[in-house]
Symmetry: C2
Subunit: 296 residues, 2 copies
Amino acid sequence: MERILIPGTNEVSKEIADSISRELLLKACKPIHKVFPDGESYIRIPCNIKNKEAIVVQSFIQPQDKSFFEAILIGDALREGGISSSILVVPYMAYARQDKVFLEGEPISIRVVMKTLRMLYERLFVVEIHKEESLKYFGEGAVNISPYTHMARQLGLESSNIAILSPDIGALNRAKSLSQFLKCSYDYLVKKRDRITGDIVMEPKELDVNNKDIVVVDDIISTGGTIATASSILRKHGARHIYVLVAHAIMLGEAIGKLRKSGVDEIYATNTLPKKDGIKYIDIGPLIANYLSAYG
Amino acid sequence: MERILIPGTNEVSKEIADSISRELLLKACKPIHKVFPDGESYIRIPCNIKNKEAIVVQSFIQPQDKSFFEAILIGDALREGGISSSILVVPYMAYARQDKVFLEGEPISIRVVMKTLRMLYERLFVVEIHKEESLKYFGEGAVNISPYTHMARQLGLESSNIAILSPDIGALNRAKSLSQFLKCSYDYLVKKRDRITGDIVMEPKELDVNNKDIVVVDDIISTGGTIATASSILRKHGARHIYVLVAHAIMLGEAIGKLRKSGVDEIYATNTLPKKDGIKYIDIGPLIANYLSAYG
């Protein structure tokens, strides 16, 4: 079936769509997009899409609700235009952290996102969705793309003395699979009470970081607080370099400065969110293209 | 079944919910609502809702996509909390004007809104949805609330010399049913070319407006351009007073000033949208309460 690429409505999505288009030699059809003076979004797909398979790339960046809504508008326009099947690529999935009821009375926000998308798209590719279990709300045809080995490969990460750290035990699998790829040790951070000062500190469970290059792996960094705290301690314990590898760098307010000050040498992120100074970005497009080929 | 009222996340919705609560003597459960620093919305329903019927009031005011999304978050939280059935009241329905494909490649935006709401709500009440046919996308259980006779009654509109005007033939039924209530004549505006100047002007199809009080009825006013043009001409033709009765007063930019300058004496709107100076508002809450009682 002929495939056609539809770049989404924001710059992030357009850049990634460009990259996918180059990798897969796919023709792109740019939607006509505007926001009316009253705030409503308008979308039009100005191409013949009948009986084709569309790949829509839309990152759910801020304003998340608008990015999401425009994705479903595009999905509706595609169905209306006689598309044969629609694939949605979401480089950054919003609302993924509200994936369960933490306090009684809460919604499972990612569930309503997934169920709504499922009405309009047959398949969904998401880059690092915080908790892979959330894909079940979409049902069959949803795929999570883990970016860390792609990032490590692009960076040419290797060192005889490298170790991978997860900020918590819950995300240990991320660190583990990256360490398997790099053939190095891994560990996670635990909260401990300093015996002398009584302060709560973050330390590796067992790993001796002295003279090692430490790569902290995380899916999303918002305020950077946890990693900054951990980083100062890793430095004290003699870590040689500290690198942060993050899929989605939200980096609110002073997050980047705080991380740098705490001793982080470099922050690497994928380009799923708008770019900020002080971060080195790795294009996620080629990795998404690989997945799209494999699942073709 | 015990009913519980859930006011929505914006001031407009809270005011209307208050009014419904007073009319129906319903207990309200105010959701906990915040927007995280990254822009995502958070909702929690802090009441026991198990086996009850919820009435959620959420007007889809700007930012429309967020208002809409928060309505589905509330819907999900209610289902999660074991609600027996959920009714959504939408005083202002966004995206109602994209109710068909005007140009090839467009979505039917109101369709995706309706279908998404239907996943989470059993019934839907909307104040003046532009085209009543759009309710079919929700399916059974959707009701349109026409506000004009309620408005006329609240205003005590009566005059021996009153006439109702629709801005176009498409919306003639609005004018017709209000004229039946007021026992007066009605007509619609047509575009005509002035025989002397060659200008396009808006004139009543047949009605002689001389010395009459004219009530122009419309569902939504955005820029006010059409009605301002019509109003100047009605004045020239000797209209005594010109009143505008509008369900949803968006009134972008200088719309209100433009209408006043064109000869409109007073603009009456319902409180489905944020309030602006120069408009007299009529509370829609009691009318919605009537509908909720009738469909109880």
